[in-house]
Symmetry: C2
Subunit: 179 residues, 2 copies
């Protein structure tokens, strides 16, 4: 069966700083009409950062939506008109205080396709200069440095629940094994 | 630094069928106030289904929020008051037409912690009876059966972008390697 859903009427129901929300009228493959509620987000960029000794740099951050501190790789929202690559370099400097000239792509993920448009672009940084952390106003994070092997163990134990962190590490290992 | 964000005022700005949206006033660790926009979702359950010949059963579905067909493991929203385990069993029967008595947990993921409350509960099904697919009204999916090795290849090539699918397969392999 040909799968599609055609937009009939676009209805923006909320306009926010991080995302907008729509409740659109659509046409289904059988010609009937339905509603689709969805969240429009400009996309995210996240970066796995490794030093020469194979330590990884993570951030601990209170995540209000899940009501607790989450351990994750540095990440942030892509600004309007910004290239994902440049967002990742910017977040690396803001959250860790590391300035990279060059980073490597680790593909894209769709975190929750059922109702969110966000794509998260993943990158790897291994070459950078240490400069100074400069967080956005209202942003509070603790930097956590650990051996990559320890992070892999936490992933194997299902202790890491943040999707982008698990997939960035998985893809890094897959890429390295191919070389 | 102690990381926390305290809710001061809860403001529901949208109430939908799949999720609600809030724009809360909060207190930051430095005592200042700010806003947090977030999406409240009751959680999802997703299931990696394998047969005796090591074939995996996926679904192709048009995902309106990303504007294209996505290949993913069967999944759905947890109904209010429903156990994640039972949601996964229900989705397996609705989307694939397979009835399982027992499934195994593959942990939890947080798909996009920055602004969504959703937790996705992952499961593995290897024992089931073939009954009949019965999709929700307005739901259209094609079932795609392929060797697990082919799906792993697609994950290795970064061709699979759906986060829950990548992580369910990764965790299944990790669990199997431990046995």
């Amino acid at each position: 069966m040909e799968l599609y859903e055609k937009k009939l009427t676009e209805n923006k129901v909320y306009s926010g700083r991080i995302f907008d929300v729509y409740s659109d009228d659509i046409e289904l493959p059988n010609g009937k009409t339905s509603k689709r509620d969805w969240v429009k987000h400009n996309g995210g960029a996240a970066i796995l950062c490794l030093d020469k000794e194979n330590n990884v740099y993570l951030v601990e951050q209170y995540r209000y939506s899940v009501g607790r501190v989450v351990l994750e790789i540095p990440a942030g929202k892509i600004d309007k008109g910004e290239e994902p690559y440049n967002s990742a370099i910017r977040e690396l400097e803001e959250e860790l205080g590391f300035r990279a000239e060059k980073i490597e792509p680790l593909g894209v993920i769709l975190p929750t396709v059922g109702y969110v448009s966000e794509k998260i672009y993943l990158y790897l940084a291994t070459e950078y200069d240490v400069v100074k952390q400069h967080l956005d106003e209202g942003e509070f994070v603790n930097i956590v440095k650990m051996p990559l092997s320890e992070l892999i163990e936490k992933i194997e134990n299902f202790e890491i629940e943040d999707a982008k962190t698990i997939i960035a590490v998985t893809r890094y290992i897959l890429t390295k094994n191919k070389q």
